[in-house]
Amino acid sequence: MKLGSFLLKRLLLSIFVIFGLSIIIFIIARVVPGDPARMALGPRVSEEVVQRLRHEMYLDKPLSKQYFYWIRGSFSGDFGRSLVTKRAVSEDIKEYLPATMELAIFAATLMVIFSVLLGTLSAQYKDTWVDNLIRMVSYLAMSIPAFVSATIFMLLFGYYWPILPVLGRMSPGMSYPTSITGLLTLDSLIQGNFVAFWDALKHLFLPSVALSLAHIFQNARITRSSMIENMRKDFLSAERGYGIPERVIMFKYLLKPSLIPSVSIMGLGFGNLVANAFLVELIFNWPGISRYGTNAMLSKDLNSISAVIMVFGVIFVTVNIIVDIIVAFLDPRVRLSTSLGI
């Protein structure tokens, strides 16, 4: 079946990509000037201790062997030890990753819902004040980087209108629900702890909006232009002429083909969301992997950096595969056509 071979090809490609990524990360990490062992222990420690750490980190072995050890370790989840937190990197990741995922997923949900809504509105009321207003706001919103909107939100909601919390994931003094998925909102829902759920949601709101703002409007524009292009197509006039009611035409026959270009862009956008989470987490004091990764990068904590980038790479590649599946689901021509493009 064509769909199966299509997916298989994508999967193989992705595995290759992840391997290539690991090589690149490794090269970058090892090519860095400076001695990571010395930097970790500080200038006052004796040379012997540093030498021992070097040996422990395999820094005295040839590069290819180092790579081999690293890859082997990552298969079993062992990424070495962080020189900053002094514990296994995999532990660090386990602790911090869910927070970032929660943020990214919520932001992505906002992105999907609102961009489709705004895009459809603009297309429906094309060239009216609704459309023009959304267009103006889009131009502005697309030019605001996530960290700028985060800073502005901090200013507005942190001090002038404290209606929403701006720091951390939960209010101080609240007890965290027991961790099942690591996503605070889901966990508290599952356990029926509505107080915690509401608190977590409130904390989640502002960072997610700051993160997704630019993307919402960018995708709204794409949805809009895709809808407008399809609105003129003959098959819509034909369907209207056969007597199919307007709302069916709008929500079924127009929406589906128009979503196809949006979905691909939204997939790329998710990668951007995860990347921009770096900065937003810093500002909102969100204990996620991006903040952890940024600190690791600034303190040149090699093991952490490599692991974090690998994790991001895997997430991104996975999301791309999922997006490809969704596009194949929406657009039968991708699934069933005999030539597979690139």
């Binding site: 490609l13 290759f16 990509v17 992840i18 290539g20 990524l21 690149i24 990360i25 970058i28 990490a29 090519v31 860095v32 000037p33 131009y139 502005l140 697309m142 030019s143 605001i144 980087p145 960290f147 700028v148 800073t151 502005i152 901090m154 200013l155 942190g158 001090y159 002038y160 990668g271 951007n272 995860v274 990347a275 921009n276 770096f278 900065l279 810093l282 500002i283 940024t294 990068m297 600034l298 040149k300 950096i305 980038i309 991001f312 790479g313 991104f316 590649v317 791309n320 690139i342």
Partner: protein
């Protein structure tokens, strides 16, 4: 033998000459650009930024504040007639520093694109023309690997590994940026190479080099320029993100992101320290985005 190909080359060349076409049609292109009033707004903003950046050392009211300068007495002043954007903690005039910071942003945009686009385009051309050979596979797989990380993360990682300077930040962004052009040009080159005029040129005996440069490339130029115009905004954004984290232009030389992160510590009382750099970033990106839209309208065919 080569000489006898000359007249045939002329025929092939005459089929496509977009660069000269652009200048001949300047009036028509301007019409297309100016149809959307917002593009003109973008152009004005961009022109303003470029001019103020170039003439910054001469036009800013307090040129010394850009370098090592301390004056605690006039520190933390709100916006006034003397200091349009107020002063920061150390007493430096924020307005002057913001205008000067545009320099770094623009330099980064120019350098990054100048460094990233040619190799990216070149690789894409080769891969597209030699489609379905091992060269194509190798190039595109490597490109895919680089594309699998969001640009910010890759640039961040590279910049963090190297010493934090403007040059290193530019290198980091360049490395994250070239694959997008390769993919863009690959898609176009691989479809253009099946066009009749390419096959014709091949039959005449034109060299591969000629075909790449004179037949295929000119037909890919419009999307490349469009993308470059739109990319300026994104590169500036990326640069600001990096300097926000402290990578890039180091103090005392001002950079927009750095000023924002410095100012954020003193919110909300010294609000002007972060608001004005933020507005400057947004204005800059907005201007380039609007102008980029106009350039796209100008270069894209058949968009009424």
């Amino acid at each position: 033998m080569r000489n006898s190909n000359k007249p045939n080359n002329l025929i092939a060349i005459s089929l496509v000459r977009p660069k000269s076409i652009f200048w001949f049609n300047l009036e028509k292109n301007w019409y297309k650009f100016s149809r959307n009033r917002l593009s003109i707004v973008g152009l004005v903003i961009v022109a303003g930024i470029i001019i103020s950046a170039i003439f910054a050392p001469w036009i800013i009211p307090y040129p010394e504040h850009v370098g090592p300068f301390v004056d605690f007495e006039s520190g933390a002043q709100p916006p006034s007639l003397q200091h349009l954007f107020g002063t920061d903690i150390i007493g430096r005039d924020i307005f002057s520093r913001v205008i000067f910071a545009f320099r770094g942003a623009l330099i980064m945009a120019v350098v990054v694109l100048a460094l990233a686009v040619p190799p990216g385009v070149f690789l894409g051309l080769i891969a597209g023309y030699l489609q379905n050979t091992w060269i194509d596979t190798v190039i595109m797989r490597i490109t895919d690997v680089f594309l699998s990380i969001p640009p910010l993360i890759l640039a961040l990682a590279i910049a963090a590994m190297l010493k934090p300077t403007l040059m290193n930040a530019m290198i980091a962004v360049t490395i994250s940026w070239w694959p997008w052009y390769t993919r863009l040009v690959y898609g176009m080159a691989s479809s253009v190479r099946n066009e009749y005029f390419v096959i014709a040129a091949n039959l005449i005996g034109a060299s591969k080099f000629h075909i790449l440069l004179r037949e295929i490339l000119p037909n890919c130029l419009s999307p490349i320029f469009t993308k470059m115009a739109l990319d300026i905004g994104w590169v500036i954004l990326l640069g600001a993100s990096l300097s926000f984290l402290g990578l890039g232009e180091q103090p005392p030389i001002p950079a927009l992101g750095t000023m924002l992160s410095d100012g954020a510590k003193f919110m909300p009382t010294l609000w002007w320290m972060s608001v004005f750099p933020a507005l400057a970033i947004v204005l800059c990106i907005l201007g380039f985005n609007l102008m980029g839209d106009g350039i796209r309208d100008m270069l894209e065919k058949g968009r009424e």
